[in-house]
């Protein structure tokens, strides 16, 4: 015996859904305005928000260095490592917002920190800070699902090939150089 979906609904629609409920309002789709071309990076303060994942700090610091060297940006905030899975909030968030014009966030390289990196990127955008979020490509699905939960399903983030944690210092530096054009593009593109 088989029933079509409409019959199922009629018969079984009274079953209770086991889903939890959405807590708090879903954020509006707000993204920060982008800088007006790469030249506009000159003199801009770049905030770095790295997590405790291996090589995250090295990668972001190197990207910051490249932005200083090649675009005359200034790295002002090197946010101390924060718990890798806790979304940025409170004084940490505000001190970062107050001290930068653009931000680099990463590396989303674990189940919960990929989600946290996307959360933080979207939070920064909503506070007017254009952000380039970097995730490992092994966490693409998690990162996209997080953006969806945050009400910005198409939020653009950068991916870099997995794994990152086992790269040597030289490999991380090369990885940063490869990512640089995409990072710049994320910071200067037109606001959606």
């Amino acid at each position: 015996m088989s029933l079509d979906p409409a019959d199922h609904q009629a018969l079984f629609g009274a079953f209770l859904s086991p889903h939890g409920r959405v807590s708090g309002p879903r954020g509006h789709l707000v993204r920060a305005a982008r800088l007006d071309g790469p030249a506009a990076l000159a003199g801009r303060r770049v905030g770095l928000l790295w997590n405790t994942k291996l090589n995250a700090e090295l990668l972001l610091v190197e990207l910051g260095r490249l932005l200083m060297e090649q675009y005359d940006a200034v790295v002002t905030a090197r946010q101390a490592p924060y718990a890798h899975a806790v979304p940025l909030d409170g004084p940490d968030l505000h001190s970062l917002i107050d001290s930068c014009d653009v931000a680099l966030v990463g590396v989303g390289d674990c189940g919960s920190c990929a989600a946290a990196a996307i959360n933080d990127g979207i939070t920064l955008e909503r506070h007017g800070i254009p952000a380039a979020v970097i995730c490992s490509d092994a966490f693409d699905v998690t990162a996209r699902a997080t953006a969806e939960v945050q009400g910005d399903p198409d939020y653009p983030f950068l991916t870099t090939p997995h794994p990152i944690a086992v790269l040597s210092e030289g490999q991380v530096v090369r990885r940063a150089a490869q990512l640089l054009p995409e990072v710049v593009a994320r910071l200067v593109e037109e606001a959606s």
Binding site: F12, F15, S17, V22, S23, C110, A116, V149, E169
Partner: protein
Amino acid sequence: MSAPGLGIVHQAVEYAYEQDWSDGLPVVPATRELTDAFLATTDRDPDEVIGRLEPLRREVTVETAAINAVMAGCRPEYFPVVLAAWDALLLDPTTAVGAWQSTSGPAPLIVVNGPVRERLGINGGGGALGPGFRANATIARAIGLLVRNGLGVRPQVFEQATQGIPGRWAMCVAENEEESPWEPLSVDGGLAPGSDAVSAMLLRDTEFVDNRHTADPEKLLADIADTLGRTGALIFEHAAAGLVLCPEHAQLLARAGMGKDDVRRWLADHTRRSVDDLRAVGKNGLTERGGRGVRVDRPDEQRAGADPVFETDTAQHLPILVAGARNAGISSVVRLFTSWSRISARVETAAEVPGPLMLVESEEEL
């Protein structure tokens, strides 16, 4: 060929699969009546929020828990234990921020103490960590469905376990208090002896220590320490692990005059790894990537000197319980995701417990 009318049961099970409500096994679809029978076993408000996962913007209530407990196959009278297990798990702060999403895919170990074990038939004897007992299987599964359905942490989306752990959402045991020589785990968790209580910790694995070879307590402990200290399991400077001792091992240790604190002290003192051991497996922290090893090699450090794997010998980092049959010397080391909260949750049942429920009176109820 099927009995007339029973096809509807299979259709209901299939419907639940279509809704993506299942962990892979069939679920019992939750009707209003059945869910209300569960809610009647507790005095807690069905709308009380009992868990929230901020990064996913999801929260669950007592009623969400009841619906998932129905679906897991629990009986209504198990529900206060499900709620206590959930409360006990939430005392581990990682459950609010990332444990359920972790690549390590940690599995709750739910331990029940007190007379409720017998009332509900929760097994703590032979096969305590294995299958075969409805209360054990469904209470653990209810927690899993609550995380999956309630909080929305589904495999390969928000749940990112690299391989997962056998026994995830399947480990609920009663402590074998009758054959344990020591005070129950819930006493370490701060409750009076004899309390109906649930303790919970997140595990990364269970690993057997089979020692039917010695009556010497120190040799038995040395065997356990060897398992506790293996390098593959070490990812930080210090570790935390529990022991699920079989009655035979626990009694052997107790006969030698050891209490749980003595066992912990011995193990914390004797479970060691040298920097050389760690260097051999690339975990000495001296690589060109910088000092993020299990233990950072320092020039003044004695290379052959062995450092303790456990920072302290507290019940938080080395919880001990007794479970299983008294038929062999087989115990388990369970490695903890972080550490045990060391707080047990009391099982609270409604002041007026309803009478036995006829679960399904007739097919027409569907």
